[in-house]
């Protein structure tokens, strides 16, 4: 019999990893365009924009791979970092929506014709945060469960 919770966690890992592995491709391919997308949030000092544009896609890639194929501790760290990133992204998009700044989220494409961010981006991020939290808690609690069993 297939147990529901391990299957759910397994599917959640695949889903979140696929999102982030897909998201990093365009950013790695065109770092200049991603730097512009980052700059358009108007939240980072100019001096940090390029460094974030250079490093962030690789953090997404590293965490995506760790989530998919890493050992338990790596999965916990990856889910923790991804949830943290998602919280920051969601805060940034929310702030832009509140300030009326018209910009695309820069999440999956850096093309100029990308759709402008809206409430759907927040909903999607909310779902991803929840999935990342589930993955993290599952990996975090595993040693405690094994100690008590």
């Amino acid at each position: 019999m297939i147990r529901a919770r391990p299957l759910f966690i397994w599917l959640a890992r695949i889903a979140v990893a696929a999102v982030f592995l897909g998201a990093c491709i365009a950013k790695i391919r065109d770092p200049e365009a991603f730097a512009l997308a980052t700059h358009r949030y108007r939240l980072l000092p100019g001096e940090l924009v390029n460094a974030v544009a250079i490093l962030l896609p690789w953090l997404e890639l590293t965490c995506g791979v760790a989530l998919l194929a890493g050992p338990r501790r790596a999965r916990a760290a990856a889910a923790f970092l991804l949830a943290g990133m998602l919280l920051v992204f969601t805060g940034a998009i929310s702030l832009n929506l509140l300030r009326g700044i018209e910009a695309s989220c820069g999440c999956f494409t850096t093309r100029a014709d990308a759709a402008v961010s809206d409430g759907w981006n927040l909903l999607r991020n909310g779902a991803l945060i929840w999935l990342s939290a589930m993955i993290f808690l599952n990996a975090w609690r595993a040693p405690a469960r094994s100690k008590t069993s």
């Binding site: 770092p31 924009v49 460094a51 250079i54 690789w58 590293t62 923790f80 700044i101 018209e102 100690k147």
Partner: protein
């Protein structure tokens, strides 16, 4: 009380901090290495002068900015006036559909030509050649001084519009 049990979360938290740092270090090394190995044309410098970027200047000046999708919507909206801030010759060579020519250098005089079409509340989209020109921003600032309130800058300008397959019309201004 179970001392071993209470130590477990602390030990786990320390492990999590260490593992997260390792993932950050791997990502940092990969990002830095790949950026260094890129051909010079696509390599991103670690620091650029974003303070002089046209969108930063517009943001500081309080002029709203829109991008390709917003520009398409506004070009399709007959209530929005589209103003080309470049010279008449550049306008004649190619401009956005429905655009009117209002070169920034002649704005003070030429704005009167459009007095019958523009009111202070008319939505106006201004553009110029692309991200490297500041004519559109300068025109937007000037128009605001004239009392126009609903101004939006399209920094991608004609270059981006054309790159993404937008219709470009040729011909001298009427």
């Amino acid at each position: 009380m179970n001392p071993a049990g209470s130590r477990l979360p602390l030990r786990q938290a320390a492990q999590l901090a260490l593992d997260s740092t390792i993932l950050l270090a791997i990502a940092g090394l990969l990002g830095g290495l790949v950026n260094t190995l890129r051909p010079e044309a696509t390599r991103l410098p670690w620091v650029s002068d974003w303070d002089r970027h046209i969108e930063t200047l517009a943001f500081r000046a309080g002029i709203p900015v829109t991008f390709l999708q917003g520009a398409r919507q506004r070009v399709g909206d007959a209530a929005t006036a589209i103003l080309d801030a470049r010279s008449e010759d550049e306008y004649a060579a190619g401009h956005l559909p429905r655009a009117l020519s209002l070169p920034v250098a002649e704005a003070d005089r030429r704005i009167l030509d459009y007095a019958h079409r523009l009111t202070p509340d008319t939505p106006i989209l201004v553009y110029c050649g692309g991200a490297d020109c500041d004519d559109a921003l300068e025109l937007a600032k000037r128009l605001r001084e004239f009392g126009f309130r609903d101004l939006t800058l399209y920094p991608g300008g004609l270059a981006e519009w054309r790159d993404y397959g937008g219709d470009v019309l040729a011909g001298a201004p009427p």
